[in-house]
Symmetry: C2
Subunit: 482 residues, 2 copies
Amino acid sequence: MNIKIVLNIVSLSLIIFSVFMLLPIGIAFIYKTSEIHGFLISFLITFLTGISIYFLTRKYKHEELRYREAFAGVTLTWISVAFFGSLPYLLTGALGSFTDAYFEAMSGFTTTGASVISNVEILPKGILFWRGITQWIGGMGIVVFALAVLPVLGTGGMQLFKAEVPGITVDKIRPRIVDTAKLLWLIYSGLTAIIAGLYAFCGMSWYDAICHAFTTISTGGFSTKNASLASFNSPLIEYIAGCCMLLGSINFVLYFFLLKGDFNKIFKNNEIRFYFSILLFSILIMTLNLKLNIYHSLEKSFRYTFFQIISIITTTGYATADYAQWNFFAQTIILFLMFLGGMVGSTAGGIKQLRIHLMLKQIYKEFYHLIHPRAITSIKINDRALNHEILESIWGFIFLALTIWIISSIIISATGLDIVTSISAVASALNNVGPALGKAGPTATYAPFPALAKWVLVFCMLIGRLEYYTVLVLFIPAFWKK
Amino acid sequence: MNIKIVLNIVSLSLIIFSVFMLLPIGIAFIYKTSEIHGFLISFLITFLTGISIYFLTRKYKHEELRYREAFAGVTLTWISVAFFGSLPYLLTGALGSFTDAYFEAMSGFTTTGASVISNVEILPKGILFWRGITQWIGGMGIVVFALAVLPVLGTGGMQLFKAEVPGITVDKIRPRIVDTAKLLWLIYSGLTAIIAGLYAFCGMSWYDAICHAFTTISTGGFSTKNASLASFNSPLIEYIAGCCMLLGSINFVLYFFLLKGDFNKIFKNNEIRFYFSILLFSILIMTLNLKLNIYHSLEKSFRYTFFQIISIITTTGYATADYAQWNFFAQTIILFLMFLGGMVGSTAGGIKQLRIHLMLKQIYKEFYHLIHPRAITSIKINDRALNHEILESIWGFIFLALTIWIISSIIISATGLDIVTSISAVASALNNVGPALGKAGPTATYAPFPALAKWVLVFCMLIGRLEYYTVLVLFIPAFWKK
């Protein structure tokens, strides 16, 4: 392990990141609010820390950037960005405790959207803008991570796209990754601009439109309003937001194909077909349930379903209805939908549709074997048979996600939280959804949670966001040896 | 598919089974209770049905007994034995509705122990003896099934013991399986006698001792008392019952080794070592929790933990404390412990220790790969490397169990049951535990559940008991084609 490279990656991230702290200052200028001071100090601390570490670590050979350094670098980047990102909350006085500030910052950078702030509308505009930016940066970061690091990790299914993404080879990250990052940057910014435009067109102020565009494309879920998107009282905004959350949950490699005009690869993509089937089925069942048992109006039932199901499955976490008050049938569905998540290579969290799809294929394969014991079969995706190694790494991933869910739920329940709150809050944090059920429903916040519970959830957001292995492998001593 | 063979298997089971209906008549004679009539009619219906089907189907070639016929035969046997086994409840007037009677019977034959009877002590002794017998037969049946059919199914890990069990080849079940069954019969009866003797020695009446021995060795959990084993007010009985439940949850192949004096194979068995580690760890944590938060007496905390943890993990379901009233930490642990179950080839339900052990090995293997990317590794059990085929069938099993748990929980929650009750009741049924949490806690019964919920749980008990694939493959049309 070359610690210098790791710290160099982190320092570069901090420098770039510190620049974003200047944006809320602009907002504060425009709206003449008082938080300039806090952001300026935060910027200085972050920038100076970044630049000092950079100069201390810049002398290393580029060839030594191997996957080990990448794992450690990515994890440490998220941890430290959340640390420095929590400074504005503390220094502007928006949040009083470090635990709360770090929770809010980590929730932002992991695009989770869980919050400890119950009344966001009393906060200065610069702070709310900052919350949006943390998610936007986090979303961009995770897509780069998914396309650059995950194919090496091998547990994701992103290795299937290795050939499509420039700059990736089996165990080295080449400088060409910069080209990929630039292209992604353009796509990501372009989509954000389109979404902001749509929101503004539907009647949002430009400020709200941009803040919500940040947290929509990143499937983050922070809002500038206490009632989230419901506060705009516009069915049109709900439908548009639903569609835009989907945009963030799609594999960004598919946007490469789109730019290349290679529509065939999009339509024939197994994961997107599976994803939309699951979505359609869930929306159908839930609409029926709400129509029959809760709202009676078909349009309202459909709209609430459309928005909430997409928000949960894309792991965004906006809410226009308090589903913690829906019937148990709806809540049980929502609890398990949290685990699905969006597509691989997207800003969405969760186990991801591809892995769920492969899991179901594995179940089916066993049935097939019982019926045709001598048949030789393989599991295919996009017409390509997957080898045992890839499959087993995916099964390992799913088992690890489950095991961590179980252990964390047990730990959180030890702080006195009830079972539904414990298991749903952990599911929500691991899958980067945001709100959960019980005491962590969409109208509640995590503020009253015990500090231990908050820190467990912070850890869950981090490992869930970085696909478990990236973070947890760092806890194995052998990983650090040459 | 040769339907004649299937029906022949079922008819033979029914004939043997009907003979057991005569035992409660003996009990009724001894205690001069009134239920003789009901049992006699039940016996006649069952025996005559069995014998008629037998004569209609007896002409078939033995060589045609292949695994397909075995699957269908086993499933149909459990379904019909539960049907005829529900007759005594109905004909003696112990239960009024067919749904309740079938639920109680299926719960017995699957050794689940979930009950719809809130006051068992007012029922005649013959009926309570019958409840015990259903579990005892079910336990014996499942061990034969595990040793004869599961190795063929391949999802269990029991194929590892194929060489040790006479009468099993890859896809045919040979007549020599009868030898195995005879030996198992002896071991099973011997253990039952020992347990009954121990219970009687500790002060139970012989009637209670035998009834509880039936439901201990089968990890069933039905009791003749409303307060289950707590009603005997004897710490000694609690400790002994704890140890005896463990006897039922051990792979019966290990008893073969014990009889052969091959102790090495027992001590070096990976699964038993893993099983006891999990047990010790759970008991340690739970004792600490109860000592610190609930009972304050260390002995009481340890005893309640020892009994309850073993009862849950062996999927027996006796209770000497109402754990649905313990703190959320304890309840969350219990919820997830339900899934573990005992060892493969035992009377216990659940995913089974072997599969959980292999799952953790798969997780570890991925970490190892990240640290040593070029290492070639394999997953071993008892010093034998497992091939991809066996492993993948085990992963398929785990995924199927999870998927069924999720779908069934959602369906049950649609009947209006709360989330904790829904997910724990389904977990309890699938893993053949018996009691659950929430409205299905150890002091409650399933009587107030809606009929739909009861039928879903009946189905869950059946598919969980027969390891999912055995039953579910019958729903695939291609399975029935030549």
